[in-house]
Assembly symmetry: C2
Homo-oligomer: 212 residues x 2
């Protein structure tokens, strides 16, 4: 059995765990520092108590991101991958042992910061959300198409910085995304000012309702 | 012969090409959008005509970055990797056929935007330069240590945005780099305002002088 076939088999098994407990699993992917953890910190308290959230964090090293999440009173498991540039299904499966899976509505899996390889590894999630920060440039969907093609939602982050980045063209990003990935929904928001966070929470709520 | 041993063999061969012509080869690595191409655009004209520059660009898709470099009258070859998250020595070797290697002093190899895998693949370069933009966060050396450990120089980019990013702590980054990678030199600069670009050019000049 090759590596990808084995990963897909375990991912299906993980999805069974999620479905047995009615958990909606979201795989968050982006470049390093696009704002994945900040976004989770900004919405976690807004979702509670209506929606019970937990987080699996993936990084090469440190517990930093899981510690940031736990500060908000939400269960978080840190996976440290050592040298691997992405999470895989086996890592996520092992992490489930440390989570109260029967008491979770939405599980966020924050992948390793990388705009390439995470797109190839199914983790058992129900949706892929890809973040692109306005500080990275508006050419990323064209240059790193694989991950944007896999997205069920694209979040344009750090919009509060737009006044200082006159070269970022949101319309160009939207055109590139249409070309690369078809009809993927796009939301522009800021974890710092909370601009448009409610739209992102509503997407999660409707996704959870359909999932159930 | 395993993949890495084959890559190392080809990298040695590539370095022979460079050394036969007195070319200093610099491998530029960073997250997507940290400012690698912008930095090259900002210094290329300052180095000419004293130092003859050429560039090999690495991306999954598009000729965008090579086209940006060619606008400045400098030879540039674009490698499109398809799905591979890093350049390897064989790709660089093939790209040499399209460059006037006898007429180059410094060859920049702009790697695929990725803070993990590019560190593992020797390309025949003489030095690794890792960029970290102030917009990505000051925790990256701790969380992605492998690439910073491989660095011969770390450039902190986009310092013109610091007034709008009060949470970025340069002293923290320096401490993390000391912990992770020892004595690596660090320069903070801006491709937009040209702040401290001369210091980076002087590092290149002294590196070229020692190399010869
Ligand atoms: N201005 C602004 N800065 C932000 C925003 N969101 C995150 N940041 C900053 O961006 C940097 C990185 O944020 P993180 O949340 O750690 O990003 P991440 O995607 O989780 O990073 P990795 O886990 O290392 O891949 C930090 O300095 C944050 O303060 C935002 O909405 N606006
Ligand atoms: N404010 C500011 N923005 C910068 C600076 N350097 C680059 N940028 C912006 O950062 C974004 C990305 O810059 P690029 O030069 O394309 O980055 P890159 O590292 O080459 O990106 P990839 O090749 O895709 O990995 C663009 O919007 C640039 O305008 C800088 O010094 N200051
Ligand atoms: Mg994070
Ligand atoms: Mg570039
Ligand atoms: Zn199981
Ligand atoms: Zn990789």
């Amino acid at each position: 059995e090759n590596l990808m076939a084995r990963n897909d088999r375990i991912a299906e098994h993980v999805r069974h765990h999620f479905d047995a407990h009615g958990v909606l699993a979201i795989n968050l992917m982006s470049s390093p520092g696009s704002g994945k953890t900040s976004l989770l910190e900004a919405i976690i308290q807004g979702l509670a108590p209506e929606i019970k959230v937990a987080v699996i964090e993936g990084d090469l090293e440190t517990e930093n991101d899981a510690a940031r999440i736990r500060r908000h009173g939400v269960p978080a498991v840190q996976i440290t991958t050592g040298v691997t540039c992405h999470l895989d299904a086996a890592m996520v499966h092992d992490a489930l042992d440390s989570l109260p899976i029967g008491d979770i509505d939405v599980l966020f899996i924050e992948n390793v910061g990388n705009l390439v390889c995470p797109a190839d590894f199914d983790l058992g999630q129900h949706a892929n959300v890809v973040l692109l920060s306005v500080t990275e440039g508006d050419d990323k969907p064209d240059k790193y198409p694989v991950i944007f093609r896999a997205a069920d939602m694209v979040l344009i982050t750090k919009t509060d910085l737009l006044p200082h980045i006159e070269e970022f063209d949101l319309a160009k990003v939207e055109q590139s995304l249409r070309r690369v990935g078809g009809d993927v929904p796009i939301l522009a928001l800021s974890a710092k000012t909370h601009a448009n966070l409610e739209a992102w929470c509503n997407w999660l709520r409707s996704r959870l309702a359909t999932h159930r």
